[in-house]
Amino acid sequence: MNNKNIFISAAVSLGIIFIAVITVYKSQGTTAVADEKLSALMRIDAPVKGGEQAKVTIVEFFDPACETCRQFYPFINNIVKKYQGRVNVVMRYAPLHKGSEDVVKMLEAAHIQGKFWPAVELLFSNQHRWVEHHVSNPQSALAGIKTLPLDHDKLDRDWQSSQVAKTIAQDITDGKILKVRATPQFFVNGKPLIVFGYDELASLVEEAVAEAY
């Protein structure tokens, strides 16, 4: 065998081995979060949408300043709608962007007044106005939230309150326990979405629904 053949066969073998290892790794399927970490997934009073009796729960760790979260938002809505009460989605805060920590406090303050969903929808649709170069501007986010019909004084008091700070701190701690390093991060009935993508999430939900019903 001459040198060129040796080189080519080595390169081809490496490529084949690489693809084979990836295939084997991915075929192992998604394993659920370890039991001792499961409690980190849920927080009582976290914003939730979908069927009250739903047996399938998507937990999304999100940052309102995250572009991909914005892009996923309508998609998540569609999933909830599609399964008609069998799936719900719980939102947990993961303020990974600079400045986002205050913005999620404002969201939580809006949540106290029952306005989480309109507020998050508004923040997503106006994201370019209050997020610049991946840095959140809490004041313009607050101005945006205040266009909604809610109690402004209470909102101002609440987002700076220690109670809201505690809620956010718990979400951040839980995110760390679950190794949320990027947003959005999804868990479907305790199983993390490993390969990121719309289709992957959709099939993870489909599997969970098939299992639960």
Binding site: N2, N3, I6, F7, A10, R181
Partner: protein
């Protein structure tokens, strides 16, 4: 054969050493890509500096293998030395010899974090240090066997 003209018989050994450098660099590159892109381990800053030193070898070395051009050893040595020192620094950070405050890490990805360990001691920075050491040794052997044959 065209190859036999470009690689004189007495330099076969030198060529083989260089070929192994390419093989090791490629395996290292694919392994690191596997961990970051498939397993999705976070990549810290020090890992990126080591990648900068390793990845080019995969693309540059084949050009020096066909036809054989021993000068490539001179050109890639700075990369290998740079990568070796960064890997050493990384190993020391992980081992706790260099305190955490000194490490140039950003965005909540601590370089001191160990994601997994093989055989009780082999974590990713140590693998990297071994890789760069081995590549350096092979480059040295390749260079040595080439010049010796050249003078004969």
């Amino acid at each position: 054969m065209k190859n036999n003209k470009t690689i004189p018989a007495e330099n076969t050994q030198s060529w083989n050493f260089l070929f192994f450098v390419w093989l090791i660099a490629s395996i290292g590159t694919l392994t690191s890509l596997f961990f970051s892109e498939v397993v999705q381990l976070p990549v810290c800053v020090l890992c990126w500096y080591q990648r900068i030193a390793l990845y080019p070898l995969v693309l540059i070395l084949p050009l020096a293998l066909f036809p054989y051009d021993v000068k490539v050893i001179r050109y890639i040595t700075p990369l290998v030395i740079f990568g070796w020192f960064v890997a050493l620094f990384h190993v020391l950070v992980v081992a706790g010899v260099i305190p955490e405050s000194v490490q140039p890490c950003v965005q909540d990805i601590p370089c001191s974090e160990i994601h997994f360990t093989l055989l009780g001691f082999l974590n990713i920075p140590i693998m990297s240090l071994l890789t760069f050491s081995f590549i350096g040794l092979l480059l040295f052997l390749s260079k040595k066997s080439f010049t010796r044959n050249f003078h004969e």
